[in-house]
Amino acid sequence: MLAFILRRLAQAFVVMLTVAFIAFMLFQYVGDPVASMLGQDATTEQREALRAELGLDEPFPLQFARFVGNAVRGDFGISLRQGRKVSALIAERLPATLELSVAAAVVALVVGIPLGVYAALRRGTFSSQAVMTLSLLGVSLPTFLIGILLILLFSVQLKWLPSFGRGDVVSFGGWSTGLLTVDGWKHLILPAITLSVFQLALILRLVRAEMLEVLRTDYIKFARARGLPDRAVYFGHALKNTLVPVITITGLQLGALIAFAIITETVFQWPGMGLLFIQAVQFADVPVMAAYLCLVALIFVVVNLVVDLLYFAVDPRLRIEKPAGGH
């Protein structure tokens, strides 16, 4: 167990270092900070002086070490487009994206798992067929079209819900939340649904497939033979054993949620990190791109680590097999 955790930590460290290196290479080879800071008319001496001041004349490994040191402290320099500290920009956008992603994940799990169980237990009925067809549509529809269709229906035609921004937010220290006002909740509904559709369909299909698989196994037949009520068989035995893949996918999809949030935030002009990133890509704003990349990679690595550790909590077989076999 300990060896496993240590190995995973080492792996995570290598991935982070790789990502940091990519971000560093972005700074090195994309655009020249000296040229953009001094302008066209600067003399060679001025350039050299600034170069020395910024530490750009130092050997490569030293520069990389400095970059990593700064990155760990959250210092990615100044945004080329907005002229503000990148860390401040990200910090101000982070709450919006996290609230949106978590809301979407909750919707996907709370709706997806029961529907998946339902579609598995009532296999072949009309309603479960309908659920499966809808879920196929959910996987095929691009996120931005779902957002546009929802806006068209609920904002333009019915005029029930707003389609733009976060609405009223309340600030606590550095954290601004839309969850404390009615207006904030109203603004959250459409983006959260849009973002959740793909994950919801994925979780639904996964739960259904796993349930069907598990329901065929001997221990389910045995549990039935022992005279356990259906509810205990389905939820106590079957559902519990489908949860390992569900946790994996949900965990891995949390990263996908953050990536898809870029699209959702663009459609709904939701002031989160995704909108910041897409503007950075449009204007080749390297510091913001690098910072976003590192932050998202960090979230990914942490989530993957947590997912792996959760395996031990959910699947007892992993705990037992370990001492016997090892790796």
């Binding site: 991935v15 931005f144 546009i148 904002s155 990536a259 870029i262 890509v281 080749a284 990914f300």
Partner: protein, 311 residues
Amino acid sequence: MNTTTAQAAPGALARFLDGDVWHSFKSSPMAIVAALIAALCVFCAVFAPWVAPHNPFDMAAVSLSDARLPPAWIDGGQRSYLLGTDDQGRDILSAIMYGARISLFVGVASVLVSMVVGVGLGLLSGFAGGKVDALIMRVCDVMLSFPPLLVALLIDGVGRAIFPHADETLAFGVLIVAISLTGWVQYARTVRGSTLVERNREYVQAARVIGVKPSRIMFKHVLPNVMGPVLVLATIHVAAAILTEATLSFLGVGVPPTSPSLGTLIRIGNDFLFSGEWWITIFPGAMLILIALSVNLLGDWLRDALNPRLR
């Protein structure tokens, strides 16, 4: 399966018509409908300059007085603009055909590039083994741990930063590279898996014994036998690549604005949603869904048809 699959023997068509795949196709209504829709979309896209009622890029033929006309069956619509016009007076139906052409081109080109890269690296990985294998598979692991869209966006962003004043051809190149670099991993993994199985087969050993060069064994003997799953992957991947392109274009970082794809059309139409001109965005969206759904259904069917275990 034997190595003759790679050679186009004279009776290839006859054998195909008599084969399992064709029979399975004929007995699956879903596959036939999907194939018809996909064929229609591809036809309209490829022959857009000849079948489209208007040329949306011909500035002389477009007039602003025709801007924002609704579809023909709604009051105020004109018969010559079946699906209405956009903000510049361009015919939506023609714009969709031309847009689908660009979307299909980018999608198919990206799939071809990722297929070549992925199959090549997969073959190498499975055939060489050892350190090469370990390195390629580690790269795959890292790639897989990030969502494709994010990787595509990043490569696209880097491309934009390196070539700030790229012309149209270069912009397309960057976009295709960005999309294909996210897709090759699946091919590499699939091909590596099948190669590991194939390389221990008797025909490979026989080839080795008679002294065939490893590179020749790789491409002439092993490759044809690992292509089945690759074709299935490629079909489904075309739909995914088209959607990725549409998403990037919708976000404003895809194809250059001078050659609008379906995603660009949807992006343009999005600005007119609130003034009631829904047709500018909904019709290109519907076309996108039609293409993606029909290609996906075809891919699903092909996967089942080529998988003998499912019969």
